[in-house]
């Protein structure tokens, strides 16, 4: 019985649709093990927590991005703008306390998401262009609000910035929590099932009577809220906000989603794949940093990793044919 279970688990992991994400999961473990042995300083606790910190914000955004990709709407290119504006909102609300300011940030992010979700889900606009346009609008609005200045928060954000639970940074705990909750939402709730079906075939979803518009609105709200929350993490670091903080989130999150193996045509892949994609990229970046390689080499390697993982996924699917 157990053997049968094992076999079917094995078959599932190696099925063409899953092979890319399985490879990335294993790649992450192997890479970490290899670096732990050969890269000096990699396994130090300080470095491991540095990796965790650099994973959290991107990871949370990637998990949010996965909603959009799963729904068949490719990417949300307003995540960076949302995160940047969120750092400002976060800093300006910090005097109210940490929790209230996180709440405000997430709420504002959700509103941005609502606008985009309405456009895409109800008015059937092109998702890529809608989010590009919204990115400009959000950045413009943020700039009017802050006058382009750095906003310094009057309050203590250290719980979020450097706090730890049982030695584990709070940020990474929040990231894992977000990944698990979002994953549960996709795998086990009605909304999640609807979202996946919409991603597979939006027309059929409509004819089946699924709540297409509503599900897309929720997906955009969740994704933008995730981006905003990532912004809160950036903002908490120094209890400050400005329009540059987190502005590069879009492509980091996209890279994580793609490397993790969430299929761009929608409906296929898991939330946790996006999360592991973020971890994988963070580890690679960290190794390059430790080896003293500069930003440019890091970028080149990241780009090649994205292309390689995509080719791997395509080869796996092609092998079936």
């Amino acid at each position: 019985m157990a053997a049968v279970e094992m076999k079917s688990v094995g078959a599932a992991l190696l099925s063409p649709e899953r092979i890319q994400s399985t490879a990335v999961w294993m790649g992450t473990v192997l890479l970490a093990a290899w670096a732990g042995v050969t890269v000096p300083g990699f396994a130090s606790s300080a470095n491991i927590s540095a990796i965790m910190y650099s994973t959290s914000a991107v990871g949370i955004a990637a998990v949010g991005m996965a909603f959009i990709t799963l729904s068949g709407n490719l990417f949300m290119l307003s995540m960076g703008a949302t995160a940047a504006v969120s750092t400002i909102v976060f800093a300006s609300c910090l005097h109210l306390g940490l929790l209230p300011s996180i709440a405000v940030v997430v709420l504002v992010g959700a509103l941005f998401g609502l606008a985009q979700g309405m456009a895409v889900g109800v008015f059937k606009t092109n998702p890529i262009i809608t989010t590009i346009a919204m990115a400009s609008i959000i950045t413009g609005a943020g700039s009017f609000y802050s006058g382009g200045l750095t906003v310094v928060g009057q309050g203590d954000a250290s719980w979020l910035a450097i706090g730890r639970m049982a030695g584990i940074p709070n940020q990474i705990v929040l990231f894992l929590l977000a990944a698990l909750v979002f994953s549960f939402i996709v795998e086990r709730t009605r909304f999640g099932r609807e979202l996946r079906l919409i991603g597979l075939n939006p027309k059929a979803a409509h004819f089946t009577g699924l709540r297409v518009g509503r599900a897309l609105v929720i997906a955009y709200v969740l994704a933008a809220a995730a981006a905003a929350f990532a912004g809160a993490l950036y903002g908490s670091q120094a209890a400050q906000g400005n329009l540059k903080l987190g502005a590069g989130l879009d492509f980091d999150a996209i890279a994580a989603v793609l490397v993790g193996g969430v299929a761009i045509k929608g409906g296929q892949g898991r939330i946790l794949d996006a999360a592991i994609g973020a971890v994988f990229l963070a580890i690679i970046t960290n190794i390059l940093l430790l080896k003293g390689l500069s930003l440019e080499i890091q970028l080149i390697v990241k780009g090649l990793v994205v292309i390689a993982s995509v080719i791997l996924g395509a080869l796996a699917l092609g092998a079936r044919k």
């Binding site: 750095t150 540059k244 003293g292 930003l295």
Partner: protein
């Protein structure tokens, strides 16, 4: 005369505190002198600035004040301004002196001077924290290839090489003028160089915020290090006040803007103006942090 004449200020992004304060100060001083100021802003985009220069020339102003988005890409545009016969004040970043013919006045900081002051501050900090004159420091730099990145590091290294050979730069990473990147860069530097880092030079205070976060996360008390930033921006001031950062180098955006405004007003009034006017680079520590507030107008 300056009164009633039209001046076009070509400047860079508003999404930068320094730039915003610079622009505000410039407008205040210039308007007070009765100058009609027209502003064109680019988000550090050299191509866009080049076409803004064309546009500005088309408006035929009495003078142009220009903050180059890229000090070398701007040179051909400078020549066009020269050909159009419009007086030009360059502010903040100076193109290569080879082309000094093209502008009337330069006002602004000297990045070399800024780095030198940072070097002095570092030496002072080592003494104050009883590290003596030996130890490892690391640098978190701005976008590679930009003049401030090159000149500030050079200034610091010059001074250290001259006055404190024992203080060695054990590592450099690129923080891209960005707090988040600086956090990762500093975290890597702490891991690479190990626990015996005694000081950090961050080429801008906002990057120093990232360094402090990274130090805390790595379990290092930032106050135990000699942290020297630059620009005297609000992040730095706060960090100095709460004791986490040791020093910064004053480079007042308000002065920067004012100097440029004064230069253009004098130029239009027909007064003689020096070709190069540099900002002072005062070292700011907890003791004189109020200078900073004053310079920034808080």
């Amino acid at each position: 005369g300056a009164k009633g004449s039209k001046v076009i200020l070509l400047t860079v992004t508003e999404e930068c505190e320094y730039c915003a304060l610079h622009q505000r100060a410039f407008k205040e001083v210039a308007s007070a002198a009765g100058v009609d100021v027209d502003v064109k802003i680019t988000n550090y985009d050299a191509a866009e600035q080049a076409s803004q220069v064309d546009q500005a020339i088309a408006q035929n102003p009495a003078a142009i004040v220009l903050w180059p988005a890229d000090a070398s890409a701007i040179v051909p545009s400078l020549r066009k301004i020269k050909q159009a016969g419009i007086p030009l004040v360059i502010t903040n970043s100076k193109p290569d002196d080879k082309y000094a013919d093209y502008w009337s006045v330069f006002t602004g900081p000297s990045d070399l001077g800024n780095g030198q002051s940072a070097g002095e501050a570092m030496i002072k900090g080592f003494a104050e924290k009883k590290f003596g004159t030996e130890g490892k420091i690391v640098i978190v730099e701005g976008v590679p290839g930009t003049p401030p990145q090159i000149a500030r590091s050079k200034g610091l290294e010059d001074v250290l090489g001259e006055k404190a050979k024992g203080i060695v730069v054990a590592g450099k990473q690129n923080g891209n003028w960005d707090q988040t990147k600086a956090t990762d860069a500093a975290a890597a530097l702490f891991t690479q160089v190990g626990p015996d880092v005694k000081g950090v030079y961050a080429q801008a205070d906002n990057m120093m915020s990232g360094v402090i976060v990274a130090a805390k996360r790595a379990g290092i008390d930032p106050a135990s290090l000699v942290l020297v930033g630059s620009n005297c921006s609000i992040e730095g001031v706060n960090q100095i006040k709460d004791g986490t950062q040791y020093a910064t180098v004053l480079q007042s955006p308000i002065d920067d803007g004012k100097y440029a405004a004064n230069a253009v007003v004098d130029l239009l009034d027909g007064k003689k103006v020096e070709k190069e006017i540099y900002l002072p680079h005062e070292i700011i520590t907890k003791a004189n942090v109020s200078d900073c507030d004053a310079a920034i107008g808080r």
